[in-house]
Symmetry: C2
Subunit: 403 residues, 2 copies
C-alpha cells in the first residue's frame, strides 16, 4: 500500500467536477458531481439523528439497493426541515443528473450541507448541474474541485489516496471529506466520499466502510451520527479489472480495509485539525480501561470538554480538567490509579499532582499537535479520539452562521 497524491478521480473510471451555482453567497463552489463510467457497488453510513435531511433520506433508500452510478452534492443549503418540497427537490436533482448519465434516478446519490430550514434554490441547482456535467473530467484536479464544492466552514480541503498492487495489477482507493471537527462536529455536517476501482460485493463494502468509519470519523470529538445531513459513501466500480472481492475472509478484503482505514483516519484527523476556529489537533488516548466502552466514554468526555479544549488553546497544562472530565464520564474507575501525560510528560500520577517542568509542558502544548494520554490502570482496553482546541474564533464563526 502506497500513499499517493490524488483525489476521488484517481481510481479508474470516475469523473468529477465542482462548480459554483449560486447557493453560497460568497460565490464559492457549491455543487459537486461524481460520475462512474459503470454502475458501482455502493455503501453508506448515515446520521442517527431522528431529524434527517431530505437529500440524505433519499440516499438511504438508494444505498439499500447496493448499487449507484453517480453522486450530486450541494453545499450552502442543507435541504433539511423544509417539508415535502425537500424530498421533491432531492428527487429533481437526482433526475436531472440521471437523465444525462443515462441511468435510473435511483442510481443517483444526493447530498446537501449548509443552513437548515431554507428551501433549495432549484433554479441555481438546475443550472449548476448543466455546468457541472459539462466540466466532468477524470483529471486529479477535477476531484479537487469536487472537494472544494462540498466544503462549508472548512478552511482546508481534505483528500487522501492510496495505491495498491494486487497480482501485478494497480488499484486505487481515494477519499474526500468535509466537516469541521469542533465540539459537535457532526452538527456542522460531515460528508465523506470514498471511491475505488476495485470490485467489491456491496454487503462486504458496507461492512468494511463501517469498520473504517468507526475507527476514524466516529472518533472525531463525538460518537458521530449527530447532524441531520452526515453521511459517508463508498463506491467501488471495478474499473481496475481485478476480480471481485466478495468475502471478508479474502485476504484482499483485509488489504482494502487497511486502505480504507488509512484514508478515513487521514481525513478524520484533517477534520479534527480543521475544527471551526481550531489552532491545534488534539489526540486523546485512554488505555488500561476495563472495557472498550469504558475507554470510549473516557476519550469522549475528555475530548468534548470545553474546559479541556480552552485550556489546550491557552496552552495551559491544566490536567485537573482532564481528570475531572474522565471522572464525570460515567465510567467507574479508581482515581488513585489514574495517570495522565501531556505528550510524554507525566503530569498526574495515581490521581495526584506530579511536580512537572512547566517549561517542558509549555513546549509540548505549543505544538500544533498535542497528545493527551490517560492510563486508568483498571484493565486492558483502550480507545482514541481526535479533537481540536476551542478558540475565540469558534464563537465568532458560530455566532452568525446564517448571515
Amino acid at each position: 500500500m502506497k500513499i499517493i497524491d490524488g483525489s476521488i478521480t484517481s481510481p479508474s473510471g470516475y469523473r468529477a467536477s465542482g462548480v459554483a451555482c449560486g447557493l453560497k453567497k460568497n460565490g464559492n463552489r457549491d455543487l459537486a458531481m461524481i460520475v462512474s463510467t459503470t454502475e458501482a457497488s455502493a455503501a453508506g453510513i448515515f446520521t442517527k439523528n431522528v431529524v434527517k435531511g431530505h437529500s440524505l433520506q433519499r440516499t438511504m433508500s438508494v444505498i439499500r439497493q447496493g448499487y449507484a452510478q453517480a453522486v450530486i452534492i450541494n453545499s450552502g443549503n442543507a435541504n433539511a426541515c423544509v417539508g415535502p418540497q425537500g424530498l421533491a427537490d432531492a428527487d429533481k436533482m437526482a433526475h436531472l443528473l440521471a437523465k444525462r448519465v443515462g441511468c435510473a434516478d435511483s442510481q443517483i446519490i444526493t447530498g446537501s450541507t449548509g443552513v437548515i430550514g431554507q428551501p433549495l434554490n432549484m433554479e441555481a441547482v438546475t443550472n449548476g448541474i448543466e455546468i457541472a456535467w459539462n466540466k466532468l473530467s477524470s483529471e486529479i484536479e477535477a476531484g479537487h474541485e469536487a472537494e472544494l464544492a462540498i466544503m462549508t466552514t472548512d478552511l482546508v480541503p481534505k483528500e487522501a489516496a492510496v495505491e495498491l498492487e494486487i497480482n501485478g495489477q494497480r488499484a486505487v482507493v481515494a477519499g474526500m471529506a468535509k466537516g469541521s471537527g469542533m465540539i459537535h462536529p457532526n452538527m456542522a455536517t460531515m460528508i465523506g466520499i470514498i471511491t475505488t476501482d476495485l470490485k467489491v460485493d456491496p454487503k462486504l463494502l458496507r461492512a468494511l466502510l463501517k469498520t473504517a468509519a468507526d475507527r476514524s470519523f466516529n472518533r472525531v470529538s463525538v460518537d458521530g451520527d449527530t447532524s441531520v445531513c452526515d453521511m459517508v459513501i463508498a463506491l467501488a466500480n471495478g474499473a481496475s479489472g481485478i476480480p471481485e472481492i466478495s468475502s471478508a475472509e479474502d485476504e484482499l478484503a483485509a488489504l482494502l480495509l487497511e486502505a480504507m482505514e488509512t484514508i478515513c483516519v487521514k481525513l478524520a484527523k484533517m477534520i479534527a485539525a480543521d475544527g471551526e476556529g481550531a489552532t491545534k489537533l488534539i489526540e486523546v488516548n485512554c488505555r488500561g480501561a476495563r472495557t472498550a466502552e469504558d475507554a470510549h466514554q473516557v476519550v469522549l468526555a475528555v475530548g468534548k470538554s470545553p474546559l479541556v479544549k480552552t485550556a489546550m488553546f491557552g496552552e495551559d497544562a491544566n490536567w485537573g480538567r482532564i481528570l475531572t472530565a474522565a471522572g464525570y464520564s460515567g465510567v467507574d474507575f479508581d482515581p488513585d490509579k489514574c495517570n495522565i501525560w501531556l505528550g510524554d510528560l507525566m503530569v498526574c500520577q495515581n490521581g495526584c499532582a506530579l511536580p512537572f517542568d512547566e517549561d517542558e509542558a509549555s513546549r509540548i502544548l505549543n505544538h500544533k499537535e498535542i497528545t493527551i494520554n490517560i492510563e486508568l490502570g483498571e484493565g486492558e482496553a483502550s480507545d482514541r479520539l481526535w479533537t481540536c482546541d476551542f478558540s475565540y474564533d469558534y464563537v465568532k464563526i458560530n455566532g452568525s452562521y446564517r448571515t
Copy 2:
C-alpha cells in the same frame, strides 16, 4: 412566604464572615465561615464525579451523621488530587475551627473550590481562620462577605432569602451560591449553602433539599454532579423556636420546600446568567414529551449545545440547531410533529421552517433573557433548564485559568 433582602445570616442564630487569607493571587476574599449558635440539622448533596475533592469527601462523612454546627470554605484552591495531604489539610481546617466553636471536629463542614492539584497553603488558611473567627457577625453584611469569599470566576454574588410566618412566629430561609453556569457548570464547581432557623429532622431536610436542588441547581445546563467539589448544604438550627418539622406529611414541610425551592431556583438562575463570559440567560423548555426523562434529555441536549449557545450570543434565530440538538438527544420523537418558539415567536412548525419576522426575532434575541420553547407533540411530560450563551469571553476566561 415573602422574598426579602437578606443573606445566610438572616435566619436567627447564624454568624458569618468572609476574609482574604492569601489563597487568591488577586487579594480577594477567599475564606468563608458560618457558625450556628447551636448544633443544626445538616443535609447535603454532593458531586457524583468519581474523583472527589478532599474537603468534600470529608464533609460527606460529616453529613452522614445528620448534624453540624459550622462551615469553613476556601476558594482559590480546590484541595483536590493532592494525595493524603488533602484530607489531612481538610481535617486541620475543621479542627482549627472546631477548637474555637467548642464542638467536635466532626461538626464542621469543609469545602474548597478553585484550582485542582495544588496543595493548600495551610499557613494562609490557619491565619485566615483566626481572622475570620474574629470577624464573625450576625449582620446581613457578614453573610454577603461570606458569599464573596466563596466566589471564583463568578462576577456577581448570588444570595436569596425568604421570610415565613408560621402561627404568628417568624422564620427565615436563606441561601448563597457560587458557580458559573457555563457549558459544564459543575466542572467550575457549584457550592450552595442554605440556612434556616427552622428545626427540621435531618432525613426530611435531606429529602427537601434533594427535591429543591433537582428543580434548580440540577437544571442549570447539565444534569449536575460533574465537578469534583460540587456540593449543596442545608443547615437548620431551630433558633426560630418553631417546633420541629419531622414529617413530609406536615404542611410546614410543604411550606419549607416551597421556600427552599424558591431560593434554589433564584440562585440557579443567577448561576446560569453569570456563566463564564455569558451575556444572556437562556431558559429551555420542553413540553409534550412522552416521559419526564425524554423531556430532560431534550432540554439537556439543547441547553448544552455550543452551536445553540453561540447562535444566541450572535442573536441569530438559527432554530435548525435547536431541532438538530433535540434530534440527537437520544429521544425518539417524530420531527414532523415538533414545534419551536423563540420567546412567543413560532419559528418551526411540524418540523419545518416557518416564515417568521426576522426583526421580531432580533428584538426577542436582543433581550438579556431568552426563552426557547420546544413542543414535541408526543405526550404530556415537560422539563426546563437554564443556561447561558457562549461568548468570546468564555474562551478567554478558560484559556488561562491557572495563570
